[in-house]
């Protein structure tokens, strides 16, 4: 048998990243304590390099390589670019926070880059095995990152929970995939789709497999009733890691669902639609109601994430270009808001002090009006109040769902988001209406200040001019 060299071009960014991770690890071993920042700069450089490579190989055509296991299309490129930007922002926001907690080491950056690689593979996978590989690479890196502060008992506990439940979810996924393989005899997403379409299959096995796959996806997307791990991990992990867990992997999760459910099992749309409706409604109910009772802001944001994921699932329920692109728009908007919110939480934390309680936001307007204004934008955006981007994301998703006739779903969604508005408003109330408990000025790096300003302005500017991001989402899906 001849050995054919596969076409490496579509996978250049992944290959580059892998090489660079090794470089980061090695440099960190060589340089001393005082030159640790090198790892930080190298990581940023890597992301920029990946972005350049992705941009140069950008084309609206679909390229498959590695015997069709790897796919490079407009959606994967756009998602990857979003991932790079998100990870870069996460690293900048985390810089001072992790330095103050002894985590500013090569491990943090190499793990973050490995996770990024996992996400890229997930986004570009067109084979059940590649999908699983990417997912595991991401998950294992995240487990390690959560446990990075090994002296902290909460962090270790969170990592344990994350690992056990994550492994369970991966097991579900694998089991489901094996059933699909049993029914169709293929693991290529496109072939699976073809075979299902031909109709010559055992439907019962396929549907059981689908149930397991949806459950696995539910775990990864924080959808209720598979959300149990999210609040504990959000709360227990160091805030920098929480930010990482809560932001970029959602973009990859979107890609994952697109590849698995839509590319692979798109023919079964009527079957998984019903399952997703249950997941979406349960997520919104649990996310919004339980968030009200939280006093820990990280935990509150975890529940808020759960409810946001309900909206993301809405886009999948609506199906079609309109639905998927709305979903992507929602994920992008959500990632932007999460970045800002956790960025501010980290700015409020100081050495030896974790800003974790909602009451830490008291009187922020008097301590730092600009930061309070940005936080207000973020909270109102999450609550879905125009002209913030969160509203247009909700509008896009709701119109997609209503377009396929689910009027009751939209009514449920808006009623629950009314409840959600309450706990976001509570933060605004604390910042603006209450007097500060601590009067220390908020010190932070210049880069963080600039980034948080850009982030806050983006939330309102992309709301006032939503066409850019909306058009990009539509383009990504259409190709």
């Amino acid at each position: 048998m001849d050995f054919l060299t596969p076409d490496f071009t579509p996978a250049y960014p992944e290959i580059f990243l892998l090489v660079m991770v090794c470089v980061v690890m090695l440099t960190d071993l060589i340089v001393g304590e005082r030159r640790r920042y090198l790892a930080f700069f190298l990581a940023q450089l890597t992301l920029i390099g990946c972005a350049i490579l992705t941009l140069t190989t950008f084309s609206s055509e679909t390229n498959r390589t590695f015997s069709g296991m790897f796919i490079d299309d407009a959606m994967s490129d756009i998602l990857k670019l979003m991932v790079y930007a998100t990870v870069a922002a996460v690293l900048i926001y985390s810089r001072i926070y992790i330095a103050a907690r002894g985590m500013f080491r090569g491990e943090f950056f190499s793990l973050a880059l490995f996770a990024t690689l996992g996400m890229m593979v997930m986004i570009s996978a067109s084979h059940f095995m590649t999908l699983y590989l990417g997912l595991e690479l991401l998950s294992l890196s995240l487990y390690a990152m959560v446990a990075l502060q090994r002296d902290s008992t909460v962090a270790t506990e969170a990592a344990m929970k994350f690992f056990v439940l994550g492994a369970l979810a991966s097991g579900f996924l694998l089991y489901g995939m094996s059933m699909v393989y049993g029914a169709t005899g293929s693991l290529h997403t496109s072939k699976v789709a073809e075979i299902i379409q031909s109709g010559a299959i055992d439907r019962a096995v396929l549907i059981i497999g689908l149930v397991f796959i949806v459950a696995g996806i539910g775990f990864k997307l924080y959808a209720a009733p598979f959300h149990m791990w999210a609040p504990d991990v959000y709360q227990g992990a160091p805030t920098a890691v929480t930010l990482f867990v809560g932001s970029a992997p959602n973009l990859a999760g979107f890609g994952f669902v697109m590849r698995l459910l839509i590319d692979g099992l798109g023919e079964l749309v009527t079957d998984w639609q019903g399952m997703l409706v249950i997941l979406a409604v349960a997520s919104m109910v649990i996310g919004n109601l339980v968030a009200i009772a939280q006093t820990n802001i990280k935990r509150m944001l975890a529940y808020s994430t759960i409810s946001h994921m309900g909206f993301v699932l809405f886009g999948f329920i609506a199906a079609g270009e309109n639905g998927y692109s709305s979903s992507l728009f929602y994920v992008a908007a959500y990632v932007l808001m999460t970045l800002g919110a956790f960025g501010i939480i980290m700015m409020l934390s100081r050495e030896g002090f974790e800003s974790e309680n909602i009451s830490d936001f008291k009187g922020l307007n008097q301590r730092n009006p600009w930061l309070a204004l940005i936080m207000m934008f973020l909270m109102l955006s999450m609550a879905g109040i125009p002209p913030m981007i969160g509203f247009y994301a909700k509008l896009a998703v709701l119109q997609a769902v209503l377009g396929v006739g689910y009027i009751w779903l939209t009514v449920v969604a808006v009623m629950l988001s009314l409840i959600g508005a309450f706990y976001y408003l509570r933060i605004v109330k604390l910042m603006y209406f209450d007097a500060p408990e601590i009067d220390k000025p908020i010190s932070s790096g210049m880069d963080i200040k600039v980034l948080i300003s850009i982030n806050g302005l983006a939330v309102i500017m992309l709301g006032i001019f939503p066409q850019t991001l909306m058009g990009l989402s539509l383009y990504a899906i259409q190709q």
Partner: protein
Amino acid sequence: MLFGFPLLSLVIWLPIIVGLIVLAIGSDRNPLLARWLSLVGSIFGFIVALPLYMRFDPSLSTMQFIENHVWFERLNVHYHLGIDGISMPLILLNCFITPLIVIAGWEVIRQRVSQYLGAFLIMSGIVNGVFASLDAVLFYTFWEASLIPMFIIIGVWGGPNRVYAAIKFFLYTLLGSLLMLIALIYLYYVSNGSFSILDYHQLPLAMTPQILIFVAFLLAFAVKVPMWPVHTWLPDAHVEAPTGGSVVLAAILLKLGGYGFLRFSLPIAPDASLYLADLMILLSLIAVVYIGLVALMQQDMKKLIAYSSVSHMGFVTLGFFLLNDLGIEGAMVQMISHGFISGAMFLCVGVLYDRLHSRQIADYGGVINKMPIFAAFFMVFAMANAGLPGTSGFVGEFMVIMGTIQVNFWYAFFAAMTLILGASYTLWMYKRVIFGAVANVNVETLEDISKREFMLLAILAFAVLWLGIYPFPLTEIMQATVGNLLEHMTYSKL
């Protein structure tokens, strides 16, 4: 367009931009700069709005000063502005009230001055946007965005129970508007992908969707007006808000609800409006009579005026759902006049509150001995609130009552009770606060109004009297539009 300039955009964005500048440059160390800048900005805001009146063609019933650009293609949303005889007076009212708010808070607000003034200016622009939007998403954006500054104003500069009032205000209004959003998205699909409000007007709809749409809109607008029984947020918000906040709330924000009925409910769901008109009239009459009685029993001046607002706004919704031209025009006049009168009443209470820090009627008495000029102004506004002929309060109420008689005698009977009730609660309060011997040592220390307050009240008194004596310029503007609306409603959409 004036000299090729997009006038409506200017009216909307000028106050917002000035507000942002005030926010950015103002600091607590230099409040005077923020004050002057806001004053100049708001007066400019009023001046640029004047051409809307002067160049308005009252004989046309279509939209004027139209601006239409694509805003975002993906959902076919347009930046579509335009005004007709219904929205133009409301925009002018808003631009007129804004400088008065700035002056009213001149010496009173000492804490975070630039944030206070910035919030008011931004809100003024946003409200103009609500009145001028002809695209549903644009409308909704402005509509919801107006909540944010008001939320902050009540919560930061309000009274002791301000947090409760602010959150109640926000969530109550949000509840109403979210269902409206669903109705708008539904219309987007029925109209094959258009968010243009004018397209919705022409859209044929079956009875069931019409009723559902009507109910969704009703919830949004009824909360805002507010109609009985969803009025309970208003007294809380009014009592806790600072004077300027109360004035804007009563004079401007309540009108958003009334405007919504005319722009959305009636023309989009005419058959449902006809079908449910009796119910709406019933709710309005309950507001007029029952809330009037509630107002009678209030111990707190601001609460009394808040309930009187609900009662007067009941007249507005009553007028709308009579579905004749006297009713609708009367209701419109009532809206404008209520904007002046309630604003002035709250300012008067603010004048007293600034001096004694109490709103309780029982804490006052014999104020006329110490503040004769103030007592005279307060008299004018109290009489206007009671609907005395010659003041603007009379015109609207009289037109609506005339319109009601054409529909049903008993409706008119109950509607006319407002003349008795309004006079009772307003004048009784006036008597207890102003007349009699000096009640206590605190009242003894009162000083009469300053030049700033005099100017403020004089401008409003002039407006109230002018509109009462010569309302023709106002009714002339809206005649064609209202006629067109009523004609539109005679064709069934079924």
